[in-house]
């Protein structure tokens, strides 16, 4: 739920945040976590539902930006081609995307008996970061049931920090995880919402920047390489076209830079943006369909509010993540513990 005002982390902000300062401030979006913890195991699954109906039948318009393609996410290519998301979005660890794909496929098939019979297949959207620093990633501890449970748990209120897919993530020398934030923008006298959710696992120790200030986290970590990745989901109810959603997703790079990333070689940095305001039906009697888009000449406010929401989401992931010790006795310090030192 964002960073408390008394946190001493002075993020620059031009726009107010939404009710919960979470991506779920965008009406219809829900998020659920399953956290899997046991001795050497620190991993999990986060599920994000773009809306509460049948997503396969009623797709949301989407765009993506592969900021740095050192990543194994599944489903990005088809977003690019068709401009839609048609399943929940799953966030988990790198080696578990196969299991997550199988589980999400079965979930979609159960809900849609026509898939693979009367119609084509389904484009499951599975994203990942490598939590191998804290988690026994080689153990494949995510099971299919965890994916169903994360989807079932999806709600408007959800936790941030070392939970769900973010359980074992590290970021900029500290403990990383799931963070979220939102911004409100007024367009033609109507209030719209932009929400962001990140699974933050990127950045070198020593490079952390918050609100323009450098923090030296070198003592906290021997993670001298930027090889973690970040998944960035941006949701909005502003009607944007496929091209515009790609442009919005691209702006997440700015947020990464504001927190100290230079998009390291080993970091799979993927941003996905969707709007709930343009829906595309799987079945249609008519071939010509209506959609709405934004006047590009004034789109800067959308870009800038997105940059803020993603930046705050990253800092919020750090802020809410508590110190944990994982596999090989590696400890990742939480930002609040770090600041108290």
């Amino acid at each position: 739920m964002g960073i408390p005002n008394n946190s001493r982390l002075n993020l620059f902000s031009k726009w107010a945040h939404g009710k919960y300062n979470l991506i779920t401030d965008v009406s219809g979006v829900k998020v659920g976590h399953i956290t899997i913890k046991d001795k050497n195991i620190n991993t999990g699954v986060t599920a994000l539902l773009p809306h509460s109906g049948n997503i396969f039948l009623d797709k949301v318009m989407a765009g993506a930006s592969i900021i740095n393609g050192f990543g194994k996410s599944i489903g990005i290519i088809q977003i690019e081609e068709l401009g839609t998301i048609e399943t929940p979005i799953i966030l988990t660890n790198t080696l578990s995307i196969g299991t997550a794909f199988t589980a999400l496929s079965k979930y979609m098939l159960k809900k849609n008996p026509d898939i693979g019979v009367k119609t084509g297949t389904v484009n499951c959207l599975i994203t990942e970061c490598n939590d191998g620093r804290l988690n026994d990633i080689r153990g494949f501890h995510v099971e299919e049931k965890h994916v169903y449970e994360a989807i079932d748990k999806a709600d408007i209120i959800f936790d941030e920090g070392a939970v769900g897919g973010g359980t074992g993530m590290c970021c900029l020398g500290l403990k990383g995880g799931i963070g979220s934030s939102s911004r409100l923008v007024k367009i033609d006298d109507t209030e719209y919402t932009i929400g962001a959710l990140v699974m933050a696992n990127f950045g070198e120790a020593g490079n952390l920047v918050i609100g323009g200030k450098h923090y030296d986290t070198n003592a906290c970590s021997n993670n001298k390489k930027d090889q973690g990745s970040i998944i960035i989901i941006i949701a909005t109810d502003i009607p944007l076209s496929e091209r515009q959603l790609k442009r919005v997703a691209k702006r997440a790079t700015i947020s990464l830079a504001r927190t100290g990333s230079y998009c390291g070689n080993g970091s799979g940095d993927i941003a996905i943006a969707f709007t709930t305001a343009n829906r595309l039906p799987h079945y249609s009697d008519r071939n010509i369909m209506n959609f709405k888009m934004f006047y590009d000449e004034n789109i800067d406010m959308v870009f800038e509010a997105t940059v803020e929401a993603v930046e705050e989401s990253i800092v919020s992931a750090l802020y809410h993540a508590e110190t944990i010790t994982g596999i090989r006795n590696t400890t990742a310090i939480g930002l609040q513990d770090f600041l108290r030192q």
Copy 2:
């Protein structure tokens, strides 16, 4: 092993083919199939090994072209970013890519105990087409063991047609499957090889073209939509750069056109090209490394021989695929049966 000369399928050809007229004419490349057949089940796994050593430690330079992105293949994004392939390439049905990913990850982890511990993760390359017309794709009949078995079976001699990943595929109104071919090109007095392997599942009934001649397959199929996909793997021992391999992969579109495709909306058409002549080590003491590339001004012969090899691979897939009847009592006619009518 290509199309026999007496086949009446007059493919135009400027270059001679290699010893077996298979992708394995490129030294080091091997291919293995597991075919899974039972009542409603017509599916399988094909594994292609870029070379016989440890592919993770000794990567091959690669490029890819997403001809039409209605596809769910895993691993393409990282090829684009890093220009390498570091695992065997798996070809299977769309809904089985999760299982294939998990299996291939476990296989790689077993061979490389450093993955996820001392080094990052691994980029498994899993490709797919939808075999749901003939196969009970909703049954998830590919198991992890099938992937290991396909890799183990990999050899220089391999079958074409309705085998392995191609078992349940359909193409241009007829039975599709796996096809392969090769071409020899002489460069600076040395003979080099270009090989292609396809899993052909694309195209509308009624659009089949072979050697410039239209064949009306409408009677064979009610498949009036191009929604099947094709996976195209191109291997060579010509030293090409990452950029050049992407250009080579892009030329596969020409081969698709020559056989009757117009890259239909629902067809996930993916081409991947690699060269065994440029290897990139996973670990290196030196930061500056040597590689070789081709003089672009004369690269046309590489493009054109690639186009021929891919074209013949598609026709060879059709030629070798026998008539089969699958789920929902659907029959797909083999090309040789069709020609006999």
Copy 3:
């Protein structure tokens, strides 16, 4: 005006063509040529107007595909980013695009006194092929006035063959030039038009294919390299989104393949598609605007009719181009002369 039925050039066709079988069958589109011929000079300018109003104030939605980027066209990058065309499209020789840019900029500034003062600049769209085989291209014979004149001459009826920008072009061993065609498609009981115009200058002698039949043009030309380029303009009144227009543009590769191209290294193959059915205002009071797009699931007919229109445009360019002799006493044989031999 397309290929006469008695031409013996049996193009396969599923759709009927429009009234004139020209790109101008798309209502509002106009084309004008200036042909510049004198001794060693064989060049010119073709101008295509997307509609008859103020294109800067009332932009058309557009997409582009860089099939092979060995080209110098100006303005493609901004089409990709903003999804619009806001000027006439100019086709000329490679070295004259600077002059054409200056001329078109001045033309746009004259019509729009706000450009560069109250609003930003303008994205002039200038495309090119190298006519240096027949034209003294080093002489920079295109002048600014030729661009104005080509725009002024733009009309619904226009010539094909060795005229305008196509005057000095060569193609597949024969004389190339400007060609055009159109196709009618019925969508939800309404008839729509897809039109194409090409400036054809690509392909190796020896590779010409028409209607699936190879023609050996090796005797006509010593042009053994595919280093000429083709510019492909696709216009339609079907409402397509920016993403869809890019997909349509991409399908032009299929038409190239059907006529014998393999997208040679030195060929700058650029396709641009626009729709007159989605207009974007330069100035808008509202930030949210309405558009129409096509149901992707049924878009195959649009793809396939486009492929036909572009294919026939290429053949029509050859068909209408007469034999000429240019600089260095080089002769390019017209297709009709070639067929008579």
Copy 4:
């Protein structure tokens, strides 16, 4: 020559700069300016020479990143396809790129009598920003001779600030212009150089950030929209492949973010990177050529030093630009004047 240490502009820096702290610290690179000033005229031309030989015959390996494609630069498409730069790079105002293209073409033709006769044409690289806030851009005041003069003046020592192509540029509410910087990195015991040069014309008043600190320039300017653009040239003597140069160019986005940009809609943000360490001959007897590339696993130092060099170049452009008053009596305040207030 970079920012003096006593400037109070505390840029965070991990690497030392080169001898002159200019892009010309990369051996062989030279830069020349022509500044055109008269009443309402504030424009000019900057020419950058990748090396001192015949660039057409001895091309440098290159990559580019279109950060935001609201731009009209010429020549980027071919860099992408062929991975080379073969001419000097010209930086000027948006409407003058036609003139600059013609001039540079004539310059290249004079030096290379084979262009357009025995070989193909040449890919002139012309980049631009819109200086219409301070310059009578509608007057087309750049002439062909200015381009030749800028090339002739190219030297190792060159001015920064409101000179050459940067004469009329504005940036983040202040006077923009040309800036440059360099960084030294030690690789395998050898010292290499990364240099950057920018033409900075981007950013909203109110968003300026230097060294993590916000500066409120709202009082200086009514430029509330980010619609200016930035051209970023990165040169190095580190052997990087085409793919790696593209990755390096992409990292310039981070530098933009560090200075307050969010890549506004109207900003044409283009980055071009080249290495003098990989040369490609125009003519070659051999088809297989040797090159060197960097071990990606350790490329982070190249990325991070690039980000620093580009960031300092932007700040240096502001630092060296003096306050000027241009067309329509618009004043742009120089950073040093702003800091003195």
